[in-house]
Amino acid sequence: MDRLRIGIVGAGPVAERYHMPAIRGVPEVRATAVVDTDADRARHFADRYGFPLWTTQLAELGGTVDVVVVALPNGLHASVSCELLSHGIHVLCEKPMARNITECQSMVDAAKRGGAKLCIGHNRRFRTNLRLLKQLLEKGLIGDIVRVDAEEGSKVDWPRSSAYFDPVRSGGGSLMDVGIHSIDLVRWFAGEFRQVEYSGNATPSVVESDAELRFTLANGAQGKLTTSRSRELNKQIRITGTEGFAEVGLWGDNLRIRSNKGKAFQHFRHLDAYVSRRPAADVSFVLQLGNLVNAIRGIERVLVDGEEGMAAVDVVCRAYGVAAVAPVLHAGVSVGPR
């Protein structure tokens, strides 16, 4: 079968750091075209990574690519993805899927219209330790989930464009940007969010750097999600069940489990899944792109499709208490029951 021609829209640090190694790690795709509004950056990216085509115009992609990675600021995800999807070009769109449900729905509709696959970049579902945890939870290792606590915060960041801090262009702050990973994982592990209560330090002109989300899940489990761009927090999710607990690292490869009934836990308080001293590079982006390629070829389904991406954005929007139509300014506390 011919290799799929892949393009990148948005030649920024996310594309460079995460998606380029993934493209190199999936032999079924061939780097073909790069698009960026900054011509110098597009040309430099194309030269450096061996893309035969570069352009500043999205429209020029038509007919040259089969699948595109959209790595743009949040506010451009929907418009660019819809344009591509409606022309039958498969899209891997970075998270968050879009700023609100209306935009998300338009992407899902465009994918249906164009008969194209849409994959949302919740790459963490492909991390080894998180996949193992999912497998163990499905086996009922810790019983019924009763509580979920997630934390992710770091002061270390790369230079961001002003769009990341503008509430209108980004759709949200640390909860939308960082917390959405944990929201997606909590949904994957434990089910839908029923009720959310948000607090954050956003101002009318700048998105929040710190956010806290208290929530109740559909199965009655309660939990808390804390995210920060200004503080170092544990990067982990702790899931407590009726029969034990699991702690899983969001940045590292660690997974700690405890079950009240397992043979291995008769004498050990908990069990740590092996953490390599020299861990291999994060392969989640490679596996994510591989999943999309396989879905395009009809071998498997997209793990995080448009509906899944939209559900995570829905939780953030309910937390912010914003209308589904457009992002509005948000600050302080709001409660958003379904």
Binding site: E243, K261, K263, A264, F265, Q266, H267, F268, R269
Partner: protein, 356 residues
């Protein structure tokens, strides 16, 4: 992995309530090698508490199938145990699910032994079919990689260990070139899913001790009808001993096996390690029945000392490799992000040194 000294496991403690309070051993003579049923009946009369009165739904039996050779050689476990144990266990709980487990292996002579072929050729497949018992090749089963303290490699264990089950270990009475003797405790090495465990040999004692904690046998059987003397564990001559050892404690069973073979337990590295880790001595358990010991000929190959030296050398090399990796990692990190290194790593190292 962290070892717990707190019995904070209400679910897992259910079984131990039914056990005798202290480790106990029953030594049963078995001159008629075809009468295992009679031997277990005798056990029930002598020390009924060694057999469980309640069982979880699942029972796992681990025989010793380290080579494709008949049980009369003293190397492997007799498949005749399956019908005997199945009947015994089903009399306690009729709906019990019994699984026999073993894994693939690469022998000391670097020959590959398929567990499935072993099941077939030693008659386990047909006996298991008759008894309604599952046979599982752990090397093909779902596994999880964990780390053992002081073992610098990942250890792959089956996910089965995360489930609740009653564990029966059926071991042989054999000499062993590195460990002097092998019985119940070392039998658990077959729970590792890796076929080639030669990388673990320099860490054998600590591996065996931690595996014992990870998957403690609830019923230990050392089949001493026929033992193996010579080089071991697959090379040597069969010795007729006509003895079965039953215990609720692997250390007690193996110490009794040592006595039977006239091997001082102090000379067995993994017994020293397990006793030390558990804070126990080689005595302090109740024994019923008479032992008729016989000194097992131990004929370690000429290279025995050089093998031990090789293991020490490997440990040193691995430790120095890891230490160098650590230094290189830190240096690279420092070069890449000096500020982050200074603000995060240095205080962490300082704290560790202060604690140390």
């Amino acid at each position: 992995m962290t070892k717990s000294h707190i019995p904070a496991v209400p679910g897992a403690a259910t079984l131990s309530k039914e056990k005798p309070l202290s480790p106990a051993v029953a030594v049963i003579p078995c001159e008629d090698h075809n009468n295992l049923l009679g031997a277990t009946s005798q056990l029930r009369q002598l020390m009924p508490a060694l057999l469980p009165s309640v069982l979880p739904r699942h029972v796992v039996i681990k025989p010793n199938l380290c080579d494709i050779t008949a049980w009369e050689t003293g190397v492997t476990t007799d498949p005749s145990w399956l019908p005997v144990l199945t009947a015994e266990l089903r009399s306690i709980r009729s709906d019990v699910e019994i699984t026999v487990v073993e894994s693939d292996a690469v022998s000391a002579y670097k020959t590959y032994r398929s567990c499935d072929e072993t099941f077939d050729r030693l008659g386990y497949r047909s006996v298991a079919r008759e008894c309604g018992v599952n046979l599982v090749n752990l090397s093909n089963a779902e596994a999880i990689e964990i780390s053992f303290k002081d073992v610098p490699y990942a250890v792959s264990v089956p996910m089965l260990l995360l489930e609740e089950f009653f564990f029966v270990s059926i071991a042989n009475l054999k000499v062993h070139p590195y460990e002097r003797m092998t019985a119940t405790l070392k039998n658990s090495l077959g729970l590792l899913t890796n076929a080639d465990i030669s990388a673990f040999h320099p860490y054998l004692s600590t591996m065996i001790s931690q595996l014992h904690t990870l998957c403690t046998p609830d019923l230990c059987i050392v089949d001493g009808r026929i033992g193996l003397e010579g080089s071991g564990p697959i090379i040597g001559d069969p010795v007729r001993m006509d003895t079965l050892i039953f215990s609720n404690d692997a250390l007690a069973a193996d110490v009794t096996a040592c006595k039977l073979m006239m091997v001082p337990p102090e000379e067995v590295p993994h017994l020293r390690q397990v006793a030390g880790d558990l804070g126990r001595s080689f005595s302090g358990f109740q024994t019923i029945g008479d032992l008729h010991p016989r000194r097992f000929a131990f004929d370690p190959s000429r290279g025995h000392r050089s093998i031990l030296l090789k293991f020490a050398n490997r440990r040193f090399h691995r430790a120095s490799e890891l230490f160098t990796n650590l230094l290189v990692d830190r240096f690279i990190r420092f070069k890449r992000e000096p500020v982050a290194f200074a603000t995060q790593a240095i205080p962490k190292i300082a704290r560790r040194l202060t604690r140390g």
